[in-house]
């Protein structure tokens, strides 16, 4: 590996396999320093009359492919999600999204309780919607649409960051975001504003259940598509921005 270009191709290969570019820069720089030391040692030997072959010097750093594999596997072994990509990016996303739903609901309940304690009623349930202050209407709509999108967006963004930190490539990012998108796209929501006091409701179901059972299911292709495509779009954007994206490398080469 006496050819300096092999370090550059190694760098490209490491980034392609999903390692962070900052780490790749560091390891390639250290290998370049090491290679320089080997060459200096060989030069010193030849200058003093000894024999040292440049080809043998080049081999000392090791086979580039084996070195790349060693660097990649060692980096990925650092973290749990790096060692277990199937669990992290295929199995775990859906349960995590469900837990996020629960988290958002609990947060809204806590905020409502806190508002009641300090005298700011978020949702005046004893009044019809036409008499609600603007603040309360905004709170309700924020909660409703936040519940619809926040958990899946948060989980998708987290998966993108985890993949980058784990040294896992764009395929795992897309796999994780696809799982989130499939689940998010199958969840249905129904919000009924209280035309009369006590008649408002927010219903959450899966694949139309239980709304179909009680005859209030209204399928909106646009809404379901946005819910499902959103996480996948996040994954695609993260893939595009990652240095390892082959399409981006081809277009910007």
């Amino acid at each position: 590996m006496h050819n300096p270009l092999s370090l550059e191709s190694m760098s490209i290969e490491l980034v392609r396999k999903g390692l962070p570019s900052k780490y790749v820069q560091r390891v390639v720089q250290e290998l370049a320093d090491h290679q320089q030391d080997i060459e200096d040692e060989g030069l010193g030997i030849r200058t003093s009359g000894g024999s040292s072959s440049p080809t043998r010097e080049a081999d000392r750093l090791g086979d580039p492919h084996s070195l790349v594999n060693a660097i990649v596997s060692t980096y990925r072994a650092r973290t749990f999600w790096g060692r277990h990509p199937w669990l992290t990016f295929v199995i775990a996303p859906i349960p995590v999204v469900i837990l996020s739903f629960i988290g958002v609901i609990l947060l809204a309940v806590l905020m409502e309780r806190a508002g009641d304690c300090i005298g700011i009623g978020m949702w005046p349930e004893h009044k019809p919607i036409s008499e609600w202050p603007v603040f309360s209407v905004w709170c309700l709509l924020s909660f409703y649409y936040g519940l619809m999108f926040a958990p899946s967006v948060l989980v998708s963004v987290s998966l993108c960051r985890l993949a980058a930190r784990a040294g896992r490539g764009y395929r795992w990012v897309l796999a994780g975001c696809l799982m989130v998108g499939l689940f998010a796209g199958s969840v249905c929501y129904r919000c009924v504003l209280p035309a009369t006091p006590g008649t408002g409701s927010i219903m959450i179901g899966w694949m139309g259940y239980p709304m179909r059972e009680i005859g209030v299911f209204h399928f909106s292709l646009v809404q379901q598509a946005v819910q499902g495509v959103g996480p996948v779009a996040i994954g695609l954007v993260a893939t595009w921005w990652s240095q390892g994206c082959p399409l981006r490398r081809e277009l910007t080469a």
Binding site: Y23, R26, V27, Q29, E30, L31, D33, H34, Q36, D37, I38, D59, R60, L61, G62, D63, S66, L67, A70, I71, T74, Y75, A77, R78
Partner: protein
């Protein structure tokens, strides 16, 4: 590198032990570490030199080593040094290694045999 390919499984963990030991004596950079291993083991242990870097980075990620770019002999290098946690890990690993070596030697060079279950 050929010796790396033929490295037996029981040598897993040996490079880490050697690196911690060498760095406990003095801070070194990658090339120095490889040379020190080669000289200290009289070239018995000789592996692809580039492979030392993922090991160093893993030890650093586990906070057993710390690194800093410094000027050594007029050139900029990343120099590694062992941390307190690394020193503790080294002591533990050396004790384990000595126990294992003693036990294996006991088997290889003969020792007391257990009574056979069936005569």
């Amino acid at each position: 590198m050929n010796k790396q390919r033929n490295k037996p499984d029981f040598l897993n963990g040996v490079p880490e032990l050697l690196i911690l030991r060498l760095l406990s004596r003095q801070p070194m950079y990658g090339y120095e570490i490889v040379q020190a291993i080669r000289q200290s083991t009289e070239q018995t242990l000789d592996f692809g030199e580039g492979c030392v870097y993922p090991i160093l980075h893993r030890l650093e990620a586990h906070r057993l080593l710390a690194s800093r770019r410094e000027v050594v002999n007029g050139r900029s290098r990343v120099v590694y040094r062992v941390t307190g946690k690394g020193s503790n890990k080294l002591a533990e690993s050396v004790a384990t290694w000595q126990q294992v070596v003693q036990a294996v030697n006991h088997v290889l060079h003969g020792g007391c045999h257990a009574q056979p279950a069936v005569s």
